[in-house]
């Protein structure tokens, strides 16, 4: 105990930090806990989850050696075991239950895309309104290299769940992910090369243009110069499932094919969805690791310098074009992996998935969470992806139940509108409201990086130094 106290004395502000966080946890946590408990969510799971959250949040873990890994490890453990306890969790009022594992996969993939976009928007400060183009490139790469689309040829390499006599290019999804990432990064460089000379809003518009061209190319790509490249509006499906093949399965026990996988573990049935979930978790971890290492690298510091003041950065010897292109390539890289993995998860690629809405949706994640902050982007991305997948539907159900004239439920309070409102239909408007509110009242996002916050509060000199020539 003396040792412990001595250790604490070396960090005089430790108690202060803990007290502040404890106070914050009480102020925000108690009402939340009470609301949940009153609304009928009182359960062992609620108490346990609250305890875990308090233990992870309140102590200043980063004051201990290896302490910062406690929070990361704790969150990671919660995420890894999510499929096991998801069914036993409580329900929130209005929002409904916790997201299903299936939604969890989508959330993780969107988190990955948001992290990729965060490199471009959050680190380098380049507004990219066409990020969906990278997502589409990744998805179509997966479709080309792991489906029957090119049935003129017959290439098989490590693909699982496909009969060797089936025509088409069938390459193992793990390799395809890498191909997609590299291919998309190259496309990012090609797009970036002519456009990154532009500043600010002009760059945004050009990327928007690319983002709008891409779905049209995908839709009309079934008769491009007489070739069927994208199979037009029908899209390409099915895409081969991921898996490690029978040989590796026999040798090490890793699953051979995600789609046919089925086993029981800790009293819980593990099927493909859980495998997709854990694989997505690994991919997100890789993305986070790369994001952190990139941010702290020489390149990352150059990005931040460009973001804060392009002219000053150039004067300090930061090569503008090269640095920006790298930001683009890195962002595109992760967008490509995410797109390819999403295509493999949904087992198909359709041109209608790549509209401008998705670009803004991902941008909204980055902005809501806090540009440049990895925790913020993860939380923003997860929350918005959950809203889009399940949350809005649940909220809409709750609203219609209580306020719709068509409701016959016993929960009905009073009639605000006559027919049921399809709330998910208005998702883009809701994201629009989020964008406007965040920009007006908390432009640095919910969990900002302190540096970005200062930029938004005090302003940066991103105006060009010289004026329009008349």
């Amino acid at each position: 105990m003396d040792f412990f106290r001595a250790w604490l004395k070396a960090r005089p502000d430790y108690e202060q930090v803990v007290r502040r966080r404890g106070k914050r946890a009480l102020v925000f946590g108690t009402p939340a806990f009470l609301i949940l408990a009153v609304s009928g969510a009182a359960s062992l799971a609620l108490v346990l989850l609250t305890v875990v959250a308090v233990v992870l949040y309140v102590p200043a873990w980063n004051y201990y050696r290896y302490g910062r890994w406690v929070v990361v490890g704790g969150v990671l453990l919660l995420a890894v075991f999510y499929p096991f306890y998801q069914a036993n969790l409580f329900e929130f009022p209005i929002f409904g239950g916790f997201p299903s594992v299936d939604t969890g996969v989508t959330m993780l993939i969107y988190i990955m895309m948001a992290l990729g976009l965060n490199i471009v928007v959050g680190y380098a400060g380049l507004l990219d309104l066409g990020y969906v183009a990278f997502y589409a490139m990744g998805a179509y790469t997966a479709a080309w290299f792991a489906s029957q689309h090119f049935h003129q040829v017959n290439v098989h390499f490590g693909a699982v769940g496909v009969n060797p006599s089936v025509p088409g290019i069938h390459i193992s999804i793990w390799i395809v992910l890498l191909i997609a990432a590299i291919f998309t990064a190259v496309v990012g460089v090609i797009i970036g090369f002519p456009t990154l000379r532009l500043r600010g809003d002009y760059l945004a518009i050009v990327t928007l243009g690319f983002g709008e061209i891409m779905p049209q190319v995908a839709r009309n790509g079934d008769h491009l110069f007489g070739q069927n490249i994208t199979n037009g509006p029908q899209g390409i499906n099915p895409i081969d499932p991921p898996g490690f093949g029978d040989t590796l399965n026999d040798a090490t026990g890793v699953p051979s094919d995600y789609l046919t996988f089925n086993t029981s573990f800790l009293g819980h049935t593990i099927s493909g969805v859980e495998l997709f979930f854990w694989t997505a978790l690994v991919l997100v971890l890789v993305t986070v690791f790369c994001s952190v290492r990139l941010r702290d690298s020489r390149l990352g510091r150059a990005w931040i310098a460009i973001r804060e003041d392009e002219t000053a950065a150039a004067a300090m010897g930061v090569p503008l074009m090269r640095t920006k292109t790298w930001a683009y390539a890195a962002g595109a890289f992760f967008g490509g992996i995410a797109g390819a993995y999403y295509a493999a998860f949904k087992s198909g690629t359709f041109p209608d998935d790549f509209f401008f809405n998705i670009s803004v949706f991902i941008l909204c994640m980055v902005i809501l969470g806090g540009m440049g902050n990895i925790w913020g982007v993860i939380i923003g991305g997860g929350f918005l992806a959950y809203l889009n997948q399940e949350g809005l539907g649940n909220i809409g159900g709750w609203l219609n139940n209580h306020f719709s004239g068509a409701s016959t439920s016993s929960d009905k309070w009073f009639t605000l509108w006559s027919n049921e409102i399809d709330v998910p239909l208005y998702s883009s408007g809701i994201f629009g409201i989020i964008l406007v509110l965040v920009m007006l009242f908390r432009p640095e996002g919910l969990i900002p990086s302190s540096r970005r916050k200062a930029e938004f509060r005090e302003g940066v000199s991103d105006e060009p130094l010289y004026d329009v020539q008349h």
Partner: protein, 347 residues
């Protein structure tokens, strides 16, 4: 000695940069494409030309709004296209309710009344947006108002979706369809001419307003330097509000013409037309009013020729891609546009 003299050059040799060469090649290919198609099907050419002229007039009205706002705030007001579409929806409602069968003088009085109502409606929306969403962010980093503008655009789109539903709303066809003149065997009807006849005076009036009036002088001063303008006694907030009022009014007028001419409106059409109009404004030189209309004409012609021609033409499947390719090419090769001034982006 002689070596020194040899170094003196009197005039720099004419060396076009690779950029301008490739730009010239592109324009040349475009002209060849037009020429070949003209020789193949002259009557088709005239027909498409007239369609392009009319569409260009509609785009022009929207593009003028973009240009005005960009000129004064350097803000791409994404919500502009959606304000325009809400105006179109209001016209759809009013026409269906009141003017389904009117003709003669009553029709013109009715259309003028609708014009006033729509202009007032859209001007109010646009000014409110500026007041609520953009004013607070005037000194924020430039990307903040841009992101807010995208958010506003989505909000307005969803208001339109809630109002009229996801399917196109048809508008009663009340414009007269009499023939005005024929060009190369193709008739030009009144309903098209009205659109063009509307845009040109509006452009002239705008130029007069910006160049000759006190309010226009205040706008130009605010565009150049807000702080200095404020020091000279110009009420900057009021001037910017006035600009948004003007742009909203233009959007309303464009919405009226669009709804009556195309006879249907849809909630997401505004965003699409808005992007085309923005491209046109960039093509003409953003901030430059005649440039906006010229750019709109060019874009509309290219779009219309592309939809109709037979020889070496991508066709209507690709019209959006072509418009955005033009946008990208213009921004990369000539950011100042056809008639614009050189901006720092163009260096």
């Amino acid at each position: 000695m002689s070596n020194d003299q040899a170094r003196i050059r009197f005039a720099p040799a004419f060396r076009p940069s690779p950029l301008s060469v490739s730009g010239a090649i592109l324009v040349g290919l475009l002209i060849i494409w037009l020429g070949v198609n003209f020789v193949k099907e002259p009557s088709e050419f005239y027909g498409l030309f007239l369609i392009g002229l009319t569409n260009g007039a509609v785009y022009g009205l929207v593009a003028l709004g973009y240009s005005l706002v960009y000129g004064i705030l350097e803000l791409i007001n994404f919500a502009h296209g959606d304000v325009f579409m809400l105006g179109g929806m209001l016209v759809a409602t009013m026409t269906t309710a009141w003017f389904a069968t009117t003709s003669g003088l009553g029709l013109w009085v009715g259309i003028s009344a609708m014009l006033l109502v729509t202009v007032a409606f859209c001007a109010t929306i646009n000014t409110t947006i500026e007041l609520v969403a953009y004013r607070r962010l005037r000194n924020a980093p430039r990307l903040a108002p841009l992101i807010t503008a995208i958010g506003m655009s989505f909000i307005l789109q969803n208001i339109g979706l809630r109002w009229k539903g996801a399917r196109p709303t048809s508008v009663p066809d009340i414009l007269p369809r009499g023939e005005v003149f024929t060009l190369g065997g193709v008739a030009y009807t009144w309903n098209r001419l009205i659109v063009v006849l509307f845009t040109i005076p509006v452009l002239l009036a705008l130029i007069w307003l910006v160049q000759r009036t006190r309010q226009g002088k205040a706008m130009r001063a605010t565009a150049q330097d807000r702080e200095a303008a404020a020091m000279m006694g110009i009420n900057v907030n009021r001037t910017i509000s006035f600009t948004f009022l003007l742009a909203g009014g233009l959007a309303g007028a464009a919405g009226l013409l669009y709804a009556l001419y195309f006879t249907n409106v849809r909630f997401d059409e505004g965003f699409r037309i808005g992007l085309i109009a923005f491209t046109a404004a960039v093509l003409g030189g953003i901030g430059n009013l005649p440039g906006a209309v010229l750019g709109s004409m060019v874009i509309a012609m290219i779009e219309s020729f592309n939809n109709g021609f037979g020889w070496a033409t991508p066709g209507s499947d690709w019209s959006q891609s072509i418009v955005f390719s033009i946008l990208i090419l213009i921004l990369v090769f000539r950011p100042e546009g056809l008639l614009g001034e050189r901006t720092p982006e163009g260096a």
